[in-house]
């Protein structure tokens, strides 16, 4: 029996558990660090750690690991980060409460010349907060989880990251200082701003969130009124934790759309773009799409149509403005299930049936590109599995199946405070 033959719930359970197991199999139990991808020697990505911390509760609830195991992994992670070097040293772990994007899996030191990343720190913090909400027992260990999480969240100096400007910077390098460009347009930074506004110790001013929203693009594309962002992951990341189904900020009120509904429209645009397939790539259809940040082959090369296209390596692809080089992230429809169940499930099934080679051990590989030569109908297939994709799938499939993460975070005082300061109102936030 293939994956495509399974009933809906069995299929999603299989995919979700396989993704979860990848995190369990690859986490360093000593410090909780999780590698960015399946390549031997790959460094840890702190964003993946954030997703992993949020996944342990899912695994414990579903009985895939014990609560003790989940607790031990969580504590190891928190203890590592609370004692990590925070002086901004170029081979340290963090600065001003933020952490470098990529860390050595054993010692947790900065690798390459990577940036001190705001968004990746935010995803890590979301993991801390999920852990603090889930481990609510009155035991010394679980109390320790809550204490450490709060301490790590309180240590982040968000005002420093404004760099004396109106909006948050993208990051900082010990060698060259702040990255000069800020967040432009609607993006996954929504959760970043919520956390930065929520801080008890160093909150950013409310004006900062308004200033970020100035760069929003409200467009009608393919007949859908949408807050535009090209890559699909932008429409998903913040929703992995926060339940935006019935809450609205000022922008939502003005445009009469929730961020959740907006993501649903973004999914429809992905499907419509693939149906039109303006660049004539192989495999695209209304049921085969997934234009987002993902792996790619990279470099100029001839595709079947001899146009001499330029192919990207790991990059944020998007619809409908691109970049688009024929690369499809197979996991995207599964991660988008909560927003547009019918469209996404239809694509997920069709892609599993047509392109089984995009999977390895029931896990989505980074991406595939049917326009490039390969061993099967998938064409080129990424040789690696990405931790970010697996973590995102665990959370979004859980939200689709039970809403557990959303329910947990609805009770997070931190998130509620951040959302209210951003101007969100309605439904569970008013209670």
């Amino acid at each position: 029996m293939t994956l495509a033959d399974l009933e809906d719930d069995a299929l999603l359970d299989t995919l979700q558990q396989a993704a979860f197991n990848w995190l369990v199999e690859n986490v360093n139990p000593e410090n909780g660090l999780v590698p960015d991808n399946s390549d031997p020697g790959a460094p840890c990505s702190i964003a993946v750690v954030g997703f992993a911390l949020s996944s342990w509760p899912v695994g414990a609830s579903r009985g895939w690991i014990s609560r003790d195991h989940a607790r031990a992994l969580t504590l190891a992670t928190l203890r590592f980060f609370i004692s990590a070097e925070q002086g901004g040293d170029h081979r340290g772990t963090g600065h001003q409460g933020f952490f470098y994007h990529f860390l050595d899996m054993e010692h947790g030191c900065r690798v390459w010349n990577c940036e001190l990343s705001l968004i990746d720190t935010a995803l890590l913090l979301a993991g801390f907060e999920t852990a603090a909400c889930y481990f609510d027992a009155d035991t010394p260990e679980e109390a320790d989880i809550r204490r450490l999480s709060r301490a790590l969240l309180a240590a982040v100096d968000w005002t420093w990251a404004l760099d004396q400007g109106g909006t948050l910077s993208q990051g900082w390098h010990p060698e060259t200082g702040f990255i000069r460009y800020d967040w432009e347009g609607y993006s996954e930074a929504l959760i970043l701003y919520v956390l930065a506004l929520a801080s008890d110790t160093h909150p950013i001013p409310r004006d900062s969130y308004q200033a970020w929203r100035v760069t929003y693009q409200w467009e009608q594309i393919y007949g859908y009124d949408v807050l535009y962002a090209g890559p699909l992951f932008i429409h998903i990341f913040s929703h992995a934790w926060l339940d935006f189904r019935a809450i609205s900020d000022g922008f939502n009120h003005e445009k009469r759309v929730t961020y959740f509904e907006n993501s649903a429209r973004a999914v429809q645009i992905q499907s419509e773009y693939a149906r039109i397939n303006p660049r004539g790539f192989a495999g695209y259809s209304a049921d085969c799409w997934g234009f987002t940040a993902c792996d790619g082959l990279g470099g100029p090369m001839d595709s079947a149509d001899d146009i001499g296209r330029y192919f990207l390596s790991y990059s944020a692809r998007g619809a409908p403005y691109g970049p688009d080089d024929g690369t499809i992230a197979g996991w995207a429809p599964a991660a988008a299930l909560p927003f547009a169940p019918r469209t996404a499930m239809s694509a997920l099934r069709e892609m599993l049936r047509q392109y089984p080679g995009m999977m390895r051990d029931n896990r989505f590989l980074g991406a595939f590109n049917p326009s490039l030569p390969g061993d099967g109908p998938e064409g080129w297939v990424s040789p690696r599995i990405y931790g970010l994709d697996q973590g995102l799938l665990v959370l979004m499939l859980e939200n689709h199946r039970s809403g557990e993460i959303w329910a947990l975070m609805r009770h997070s005082a931190l998130c509620r405070r951040g959302l209210r300061r951003a101007g969100f109102k309605g439904s569970w936030l008013d209670g």
Binding site: N113, E115, R213, W218, Q220, Y222, I276, P278, P300, Y310
Partner: protein
């Protein structure tokens, strides 16, 4: 084809005019034997600078019966004809043809081996310049009643200026001396030499490899054109995207297009040093603190322009100016001397030929007829002539939101436009921004192969305050690419059909059915 430049075809000219275009250019724009006329007792208008702004001002004034003196230090036509728009667009066209021929098989045409002849292409650039110069030659200007003086014009006092040993008295004056390319500040680059658009076209060959420093409009245009002509191009941009002023989706399309053409792109990269080696010009670069270097045959730069005000004697005339921002003018183009106006690049701001032209018209009207026309009321479009071209008019979305204007954007992708599909020119979009809840157009961006042509319809609508819905009622010839604008207008019109109206319409239809 390994190196299309190294094997030029036997030069064949299809032009029957054997005149060397360089000589004709010289004869038209800076005749060697020109005798400056004896100055009149007093001129209604003295214009310093015979570029786009100066020419427009002088011609309009002369047509209206004014006595006009036009003073030019270099060649008539200014940067536009001599080093800017005209030569760059001519070489872009060569690049486009070359690129189209290489992709001809997609249109069912098997082009023979395409070989680029740089000497012929560069000669064509000069021929285009020569053709255009016929419209603005010194003789022609004289025949239009304009007294043309070649030489450095310098104000002697508030009412007169000197050209050589001649004194020109004026009732009103317009300064239109344009701008000069800014010197690059890369250490060592002055020593090893570099090209600018001033020197790029005055030769018969193109370098095998070139580094273009600066990803603004001109840098992107030249990088793409040269790359398409077979030059190995490295494009350095000291920012996260090209055309930093433009919408990010527009810059995104351009980035992809430049990469597809084969340009080696380095964003967030700064040139920090240059030296000559046996292999060529080695440019030291840094990206996010990571140093590296690239060796090329030539470097093309000229990032930005500064207003040309040195030697004009502005102090003597009581005209306030700043070396960076140029001559200070009010909204009526009047300087701090109420008799003297200024227009074009010398005022800083938008340095475009068409803006210079519009500002010069304003200045003439305000100078000679006590007009009160305002620069701030102009609707100014602009276009970067890459492929796809990027054209914009009015406000950007973030500017509008910052001003408290709620914006809705109607987007039509070029791949939704029939004529773009038939022409294989599907890259791009039309985005028209309206004030939300209305059809008032506040801005637009067009990315398309013919974006500059398409934008004019939107500019017209904005200038005449025609709402977007009204464009829906304008029949567009089918199939044309500007149908994209009508599609956006149709979408805006369809938005009027609120759920309540739709219900009402449904009720009416059912009533009609029942009535048979």
């Amino acid at each position: 084809m390994d190196n299309p430049i190294s094997e030029p075809a036997s030069p064949t000219s299809f032009d029957h005019d054997p005149t060397d275009p360089r000589r004709e250019l010289e004869r038209n724009l800076r005749p060697a034997n020109w005798q400056n006329p004896d100055p009149a007792k007093c001129y209604n208008l003295a214009v310093i600078g015979a570029g786009p702004a100066g020419l427009t001002a002088a011609r309009i004034a002369a047509r209206l019966g004014a006595r006009v003196a036009l003073i030019e230090a270099g060649a008539i036509g200014g940067d536009c004809t001599n080093i800017g728009c005209v030569p760059t667009k001519a070489i872009i066209r060569s690049g486009q043809v070359f690129s189209d021929m290489r992709h001809a098989s997609h249109f069912g045409v098997h082009a023979p081996d395409t070989i680029f002849d740089p000497a012929l292409a560069l000669a064509r650039v000069r021929k285009a310049q020569a053709r255009i110069s016929r419209m603005e030659s010194a003789d022609r200007l004289r025949s239009e009643g304009i007294d043309v003086f070649f030489g450095n014009g310098c104000f002697a006092n508030r009412r007169s200026l000197r050209v050589g040993d001649q004194t020109i008295r004026f009732s009103r004056a317009i300064v239109a001396t344009g701008g000069a390319l800014r010197q690059p500040d890369v250490p060592g680059l002055q020593d090893i030499g570099y090209l600018t658009v001033e020197t790029l076209f005055n030769r018969d060959t193109l370098p095998k490899s070139i580094m273009v420093i600066g990803g603004g409009p001109l840098g992107c245009e030249m990088a793409q054109a040269l790359c398409r002509l077979g030059v190995r191009v490295v494009l350095i941009q000291n920012a996260p995207k090209f055309l930093p002023r433009e919408e990010r989706d527009a810059a995104q399309f351009l980035s992809e297009s430049l990469a597809r053409d084969g340009i080696e792109i380095h964003l967030n990269t700064t040139a920090v040093g240059a030296r000559q080696t046996a292999q060529g010009k080695e440019i030291a670069l840094t990206t996010g603190g990571d140093p590296f270097s690239i060796t090329v045959d030539e470097v093309l730069t000229g990032v930005g322009r500064t207003p040309r005000i040195v030697g004009l004697g502005l102090e003597a005339a009581g005209v306030a100016a700043d070396p960076e921002t140029g001559i200070r003018v009010d909204d009526h183009m009047r300087t701090s001397n109420r008799r003297i106006f200024a227009a074009g690049d010398v005022c800083g701001g938008f340095m475009f030929t068409h803006v210079a032209d519009a500002a010069a018209r304003l200045a003439v009207r305000n100078a000679l007829f006590f007009g009160r026309g305002r620069y701030s009321r102009l609707t100014i479009p602009w276009c970067t002539f890459t492929d796809p071209a990027i054209a914009h008019v009015g406000l950007y979305v973030d500017q509008a939101i910052s001003q408290g204007i709620a914006v809705k954007t109607y987007t039509v992708l070029m791949h939704q436009v029939d004529r773009a599909v038939t022409d294989g020119e599907e890259t791009g979009f039309v985005k028209i921004h309206v004030r939300q809840g209305t059809d008032r157009i506040i801005g637009a961006t067009v990315v398309a192969r013919h974006a500059g042509e398409m934008l004019n319809e939107i500019t017209l609508a904005m200038q005449r305050r025609i709402g977007l819905r009204a464009l829906s009622g304008v029949i567009h010839a089918y199939p044309t690419q500007s149908a994209a604008i009508k599609s956006a207008a149709d979408a805006c019109r369809a938005d009027r059909l609120t759920p309540r109206l739709r219900r009402l319409s449904g009720w009416w239809m059912s009533l009609m059915r029942r009535a048979g």
